[in-house]
């Protein structure tokens, strides 16, 4: 089998799983953005706009939508890269069945990441559709936010696979959500500019993939000029994706091929 054929059959398996959960997933992927947009975009937005005329010169709804798209990308990627992966590694150990079958670890992981990327894509896309209905999307340039969302999501996804290979149980994921994902969501410039944070906290935002994703995505979304250091944001995100993939592949291989 050629590599594309391998990836193809593995993706076909993930597709079967995806179809099983699609109806529930679609509801949450449209409902959640609506709740977010209603509360943050319109609720908080009307306060912000009446008090200070928006953020960085744009109405709060337009400011917050790109941030929320990236937050969605992060949440979906993290969700898909935690418990489900531990299932494949530890619970039903289906990765082992794939290796017996006979697939290579790297093909198995690449196929899984592609599926997660697709998941992030349609989730971010669903969010943008809803946001457009709320008047939160102004230009076709906003579509550029989709690949950026995928890149941002994958910057979380590939490194997280290490946990499934190394952790002795899944309790670490609850800690991950409480202590890492939620703070990142709140303090990476999705809801307010990080310049509002105390100076010592700003570098924390710089190391999170989410901030880089938002810095790239917001200008694309608003049709304003890209950050002068857009290449650095892309570089950081790619470093997370590639470094994470490399380390995860090693960790999973060590775990499965013993």
């Amino acid at each position: 089998m050629s590599v594309p054929e391998r990836i193809g059959v593995l993706l076909a398996y993930h597709w079967v799983l995806f179809k099983r959960t699609i109806s529930g997933a679609l509801v949450s992927r449209f409902l959640l953005p609506m709740l977010f947009l209603a509360s943050m975009g319109l609720g908080v937005g009307s306060l912000v706009d009446s008090a200070s005329g928006g953020v960085d010169g744009v109405p709060y709804l337009l400011y917050v939508v790109p941030g929320l798209v990236m937050v969605t990308a992060m949440n979906v990627a993290v969700g898909e890269s935690t418990w489900p992966v531990m299932g494949f590694v530890k619970w039903n150990e289906f990765y082992r069945a794939m290796i017996n079958a006979p697939q290579r670890v790297i093909d198995i992981l690449v196929a899984h990441w592609l599926m997660i990327a697709f998941n992030v894509l349609i989730s971010a896309g669903a969010f943008m559709v809803v946001a457009a209905l709320f008047g939160g999307v102004r230009s076709w340039w906003s579509l550029l936010a989709l690949p950026i969302a995928v890149l941002t999501g994958m910057a979380f996804s590939t490194p997280l696979f290490i946990i499934a290979a190394k952790a002795s149980n899944d309790s670490i994921y609850s800690a991950l959500f409480r202590l890492v994902v939620t703070p990142i969501m709140l303090f990476s410039g999705a809801f307010f500019p990080i310049e509002q944070l105390p100076t010592w906290m700003q570098p924390v935002a710089w190391v999170t993939p989410l901030w880089h994703g938002i810095e790239l995505g917001r200008p694309a979304f608003l049709g304003t000029p890209a950050s002068t250091i857009w290449w650095a944001h892309v570089g950081v995100l790619l470093a997370y994706v590639i470094g994470g993939a490399w380390m995860s592949a090693r960790a999973i291989r060590d775990r499965l091929v013993t």
């Binding site: 054929e5 059959v9 150990e93 069945a97 290579r104």
Partner: protein, 309 residues
Amino acid sequence: MTDDLLLTARDLTKKFGDFTAVDSIDVEVRKGEAFGFLGPNGAGKSSTMRMIASVSPVTSGELRIFGLDPAVDGQQIRARIGNCPQKDLLDEELSVEENLWVYGRFFGLSRAEVRQRATELLDFAQLSERRADKVEHLSGGMKRRLVIARSLINNPELLLLDEPTTGLDPQARHVLWDRLFRLKRQGVTLIITTHYMDEAEQLCDRLVVMDKGRIAAEGSPRDLIDRYSTREVVEVRFDTDDHAPHAAPLEGIGERMEVLPDRILLYADNGDEAAVAIAGRGVHPLSTLVRRSTLEDVFLHLTGRTLVD
């Protein structure tokens, strides 16, 4: 190497850190043979199987399957093997037939091929009526049959069965043995690990007895019994917590004696004569049972321990 050798292992060794799971074993398996690894839990059977399945690197020694080295051609070997691992590794959220389809596709079979194979194999595994059911609703025996069906999806030349019936009730085990017999008759080479001596006797043409990572003996079941045991065994039980003190009066009856915590075994070619001799000494056990020798006796003789503790 002759053509009909499917597998050869020389000084095959597997270490996990300081622990030696498989300690320099030599094994040969011929085409069409049903070959067994018999031993208690922890004897190194599964580690050996995983190396043969080419999913676990060999620590040292030489291993060739189909004349190929798993370190170099692992994928090629795996493509020609059917692997029924100790853990089922099923996707319980999917249906019975979806599990077969998905797995067959991993081997590069076309959609049409996997559908046709799945239909045949579900019939073979007597699961046709459950084809659309979710796997999580199947009994343990059915799951095991599904795993065996799945391992056959690629028409393997060699089928590896790691403890195929462990944890199943007697009826489910017999159904499975029947299916494995059919495969054997079709000429599929089988390698089986088990800690059930009756399973080894039923299924294996030839087997090795493994203990603590080493091979303690090798031969056909009959051969091993002839070599390491007597034709019959008398099991003597007394109404006591400790059988050791009851051994002395039985000394000299039969060829050999083993004192276990719960019974005394007397090895004799004629069990009935031995039983008469016991009564003749004025000893009155709670029960006296004469039976044929089994691989369990071989194992006991070789290692001083029973197979299933």
